[in-house]
Symmetry: D2
Subunit: 143 residues, 4 copies
């Protein structure tokens, strides 16, 4: 799909995703997954994955899920998100699954569920809802 | 202050803060500031500082502002936050200023304003509100 | 079920639900639905159902969904909610469907989807996530 | 001011504000206050003012604060809000004070503080942040 290539290229430009060690593992129409391996470089003070790192992959998954449904040449910006953190982010891998709830011309609502997987078992650790804005022809933003 | 030392020690244990290059620049009763220098290692796809990095320092500033007002030995966990991103995170430095809005026995509400400073001028780029939970004697959490 | 009777009694004590004309239409373990008929008495300035009325039924549905999973004698209070309003609240009936996402000892995360039904077709108009606190023996709160 | 008359006319069209007994008590550039007298008709099950009624005046105050800074002929819609409820809504009067945080061409961020006043003392009971969208020439929306 054209959008998959577009999103993979865009993800590769996100310095933060590389810095925290996040991988883009699924890109489908309206659904994007990003994974992160827990390690001390992304921890908070108790050794769990930092809420900021969890939020970063959840926001990014929501944003790219929204971008899959925007016309080519459009860019996406997060205008707001809220995240509820319901369990400590510990496990073998942390997976954020973003999906579009309602795509609009200017604003799109997306939601990301974040799971911690341990020994093959997934547990919900966070839920994010985000508003994404479609941007055209502004400051060269196109992804 | 006892709380300042406690918070500086706790901050030093946050791998993510070190990884993204954040500094703890102010610790007062009810108010904490954290700064971050923009660089490509923490960018999103358009070259701005990633919303996840902005959220990480804003959440951390809010959490430590709350911790300044909790009894020694208590730990703090974020249960939820919401952030509105009102302008691109670009500038010489990004500053998150967290302050306590309402301290409670179990839950504390804190807010962080995030500013981008350029040529000595500060501009609001984001506003976060967070609920922090005071934790005692659970899993060895004490900061 | 014991919880159904408990929730129906509690709902009947909510003056606001009666004032805006809301009905409790479904009570199951972890799921509660509340309906509202659009009328000028609950409108905003453009004639749509007011976001405050939409929020009121969505918050109440989320709260009672949480209460279905708390021990008898516990009361429930909303500590925060966020609602995204994705389409105007117009139609034959507005339906808020609250469900529990994660039940905890102190805090429960619940979510409400709000639909507008017109000519038998349902359309999502809002999405709410709420944190509910379980209260025991405080100020006589028991529902 | 032209905007004051515009907002007073718009408020008068809000059926919900009249139904719950809310009054528009202050309209200034970027700041709007709305008051509500506690009574059983707007209660939740414990006798406090319902979070839905608190949210309704807080959202409306935020929305009109935003509208004071939009060009004449523009309408305002709430796209999302989050509210933290930090103390029970009880007292002689509940006051929502909305103010603009950042006015934009399409989206405006506003915040409302909600106070309960008892015996002349004000106490913060809730804090709301809302995103308001400026609408032009759509479905006759002009306030």
């Amino acid at each position: 799909m054209a959008f998959e290539q577009r999103i993979r290229s865009s993800f590769a430009k996100q310095g933060l995703m590389s810095t925290i060690g996040a991988s883009l593992t699924l890109v489908q129409s309206g659904v994007v997954e990003i994974e992160l391996k827990p390690k001390s470089a992304i921890s908070q003070q108790h050794g769990f994955v930092h809420a900021g790192a969890v939020s970063a992959i959840a926001d990014t998954a929501a944003g790219y899920a929204a971008l899959t449904q925007m016309p080519a040449g459009r860019g996406v910006l997060t205008t707001e998100f809220k995240i509820n953190l319901v369990a400590p982010a510990v496990g073998d891998v942390i997976i954020a699954r973003g999906k579009v709830i309602k795509a609009g011309r200017t604003l799109t609502l997306a939601q990301s569920e974040v799971f911690a997987e341990k020994d093959g078992q997934r547990k919900l650790i966070a839920l994010l809802t985000a508003t994404l804005m479609s941007i055209e022809g502004r400051d060269g933003i196109s992804d």
